[in-house]
């Protein structure tokens, strides 16, 4: 039996090592995804938010101390003022050309209306680029409202007189107020880390890449059926169970090599391109390895089930490839689940990719270790076992074209 399994495994290795497209699907594609997504989301997910820089301009038509205060208070590390725009038309032009996402139009008479009635509608006008993400627009609007509030508080304190209110008023600037809120990442002490882009991206695209084992595995299955090699092996006395086992273990090994390579991309390659490096404290290695193993079992078993059902390469592409994209979209690989509405977030729980992501996040971001990953690993193991038994059952009942 050992000799037969060794022969089957060696054959799978040789077959896959000579399938350039299969190798590209398994190794290059997820590596490129990780690199691109880590760099693309670098600033958005930087823990101190210092990297997220959105430009804006203030068109000050009022020219009063209050309007100048407003312009001064708006500038933070996240929002950078673009000087030199003096007219509304100029601001419109800059936004239309895509050079600026926002412009704050401070009309004549602003100070007078502001001091008389701070809550007056249309006190200032926020001009914005319609292509700017709703989240960024909302953030800048909240910032503007906050600055107007600060400005109102300052003017109130100043009205109390220089002896009392002046000192308090000077402490009221957005930078100081930012510092009043401390951040604490919830998770195991010492291991929980604020998520960076690479820490969000690596597990997500690693899982996606591991499930793409369905394409080369189906291709080999289809070749075996079309060439009659599957039938020949059965005629030589090999059972369906042996044949499935002959594919399960080598493809799991390939999955684990994928996992190691993708982590290496996060640790070493992404920083070479200016992204943040993936940090993996040694304490996380054993639970992560276990998580990768269980995920691999689920991914390869799923691939075996798909490969047992499909009969042509076209079907493999649709059921396997497109199916994976749907599982990925549903599982929070492509769209982070925290931006999904509540009902969609609930729906993500049906995707095994979501279980894998939750498991990796429990280990990598929350530092929860074995207890944190257990429920997700159990789900993946049950899913993998069910898929494997179904694949074996289909083969045994002759529903596959052997």
């Amino acid at each position: 039996m050992a000799r037969i399994l060794m022969a089957l495994w060696r054959k799978e290795w040789l077959a896959l090592s000579r399938d350039r497209f299969g190798l590209a699907t398994l190794f290059v594609m997820p590596a490129v995804f990780i690199l691109i997504m880590s760099l693309a989301l670098r600033d958005t997910l930087r823990p101190d938010s210092s990297g997220l820089q959105l430009k804006y301009a203030v068109v000050d038509l009022d020219g009063t101390p209050t309007s100048r205060d407003l312009a001064e208070l708006l500038a933070t590390r996240a929002f950078v003022s673009e000087p030199g725009l003096a007219t509304e038309a100029g601001a419109r032009q800059a936004i239309a050309a895509g050079r600026l996402p926002f412009a704050v139009l401070v009309p004549r008479g602003f100070e007078e209306r502001f001091l008389a009635e701070a809550g007056a509608p249309g006190l200032v006008t926020l001009q914005l680029d319609p292509t700017v993400a709703a989240m960024a627009r909302s953030a800048f609007r909240q910032h503007l409202v906050g600055v107007l509030g600060t400005l109102k508080a300052k003017s109130f304190l100043r009205s109390l007189g220089p002896g009392f209110g002046g000192a308090a008023a000077s402490a009221l600037d957005p930078q100081s107020l930012q510092a009043t809120v401390a951040e604490a990442t919830v998770g195991r002490a010492g291991l929980a880390v604020p998520p960076t882009a690479v820490q969000q991206t690596v597990p997500a695209w690693l899982i996606f890449g591991m499930f793409f084992v369905v394409l080369p595995l189906s291709a080999i299955f289809i070749t075996e059926r079309q060439h009659g090699t599957l039938q020949r092996q059965l005629s030589l006395g090999l059972g369906h169970g042996t044949l499935l086992l002959g594919k399960l273990l080598p493809f799991m090994a390939i999955n684990l090599i994928q996992a190691v390579l993708m982590l290496c991309v996060g640790v070493w390659l992404v920083p070479l391109f200016g992204g943040e490096a993936l940090t993996l404290p040694p304490a996380l290695w054993p639970p992560m390895a276990f998580m990768a193993l269980v995920l691999s079992f689920a991914a390869v078993s799923w691939a075996l089930l798909v490969a047992s059902v499909v009969r042509t390469t076209e079907q493999a592409t649709v059921f396997g490839g497109v199916g994976n994209i749907i599982l990925g979209a549903l599982g929070g690989i492509m769209v982070p689940r925290f931006v999904m509405p509540a009902e969609m977030r609930a729906l993500t729980n049906i995707s095994p990719m979501a279980w894998g992501l939750d498991g990796f996040h429990a280990v990598m971001l929350r530092g929860e270790g074995w207890s944190g990953l257990a429920p997700f690993a159990a789900r993946l193991a049950i899913f993998g076992l069910a898929a494997l038994l179904l694949a074996a059952g289909l083969a045994r009942r002759g529903k596959v074209h052997t």
Binding site: R3, R10, K11, A15, H227, G228, G237
Partner: protein, 308 residues
């Protein structure tokens, strides 16, 4: 050993959901160490029969035995060389042989010896390191056969082993298979090429619609059809005479003023020739005797097209 028989006994098999059985009581025998040509139109049940013999399918009824032992139950007793080129195109010739040897439990020096023997039998030694997918059609057929020889099986089930190859490769394959038979192997050989079967097999069975229409030695099968009286005339046979002959025997008109009359005793041939001459026809040539295998085959399977 030569008294032993490879017996196909009352085999029945129906595919799930099929209206007609694929095999409907097929029985025939072949002496061990000899070759049997298994003939039949498409869908006759030949491949199904081989699949049962090798254990890929289980017969609904009946059994296939060799010296009383069911052959599918004895590992290594029989090997199937399928119709398809059933090997891995991305592996080399040698890697394919090693793989198919190892999955049969062969290993070490014995496997290397068997690989060498299979390569020598099929003269594939010069191509051992070439990827199987890059071989020509004839070489692929030879590799397909070589894999079947790895475990040195006493019974070889060859399913159309010469399909799609050039005459030289076919000749080589037939020589090789003939050599295997002469070395004592029992061979079941399916083919649509009657001349191959006539050249290779001392025994023949003709299947159609799941039944064995005839089986026995080649001579017995050829004798199972009535002798044919063939003549080629210089002119077309006049219609009244043709009608008269058709009423007396089975008459087939062929292009070029050729006529075949079956069921005519040899002593009556002179009367037919005289009749043709009296009707103003010249007789260019004539013959009387046993039919060829393809005539017998077409006669038994009633000349109809089988599209399944």
């Amino acid at each position: 050993m030569s008294q032993d028989l490879l017996s196909f006994e009352d085999l029945h098999f129906r595919y799930p959901g099929a209206e007609a059985p694929a095999l409907d009581g097929v029985s025939f025998t072949v002496p061990v160490g000899e070759a049997l040509g298994l003939l039949g139109p498409n869908g006759a049940g030949k491949t199904t029969l081989l699949a049962i013999a090798i254990g890929l399918l289980a017969a609904d009824r009946g059994r296939i035995t060799c010296g009383g032992r069911p052959i599918a139950a004895v590992r290594g007793l029989a090997a199937l060389v399928p119709q398809d080129n059933a090997f891995y195109p991305m592996l080399t010739v040698r890697e394919n042989l090693a793989f198919f040897g190892q999955v049969q439990g062969l290993g070490g020096r014995f496997l290397r010896e068997r690989e060498a023997s299979a390569l020598a039998s099929t003269q594939l030694g010069d191509f051992r390191n070439r990827r199987a997918g890059q071989l020509s059609g004839g070489l692929k057929r030879r590799l397909n056969l070589a894999i079947g020889l790895l475990a040195d099986p006493p019974i070889l089930l060859l399913d159309e082993p010469t399909v799609g190859v050039d005459p030289q490769s076919r000749h080589f394959l037939l020589e090789t298979i003939g050599g295997l038979q002469r070395s004592g192997r029992t061979i079941i050989y399916t083919s649509h090429y009657m001349e191959e079967v006539e050249a290779l097999c001392a025994h023949v069975a003709i299947l159609d619609q799941g039944r064995a229409l005839v089986s026995g030695t080649l001579g017995e099968v050829l004798a199972s059809a009535p002798p044919v009286f063939s003549m080629r005339l210089g002119q077309e046979l006049p219609a009244p005479l043709r009608a008269e002959w058709a009423g007396r025997c089975a008459l087939v008109s062929l292009p070029g003023h050729r006529y075949q009359l079956s069921g005519i005793p040899m002593e009556d041939t002179g009367a037919f020739l005289a009749g043709a001459r009296a009707a103003g026809c010249t007789v260019d040539s004539w013959s009387w005797g046993q039919q060829h295998l393809d005539d017998v085959f077409l006669q038994l399977t009633r000349h109809t097209l089988r599209d399944d």
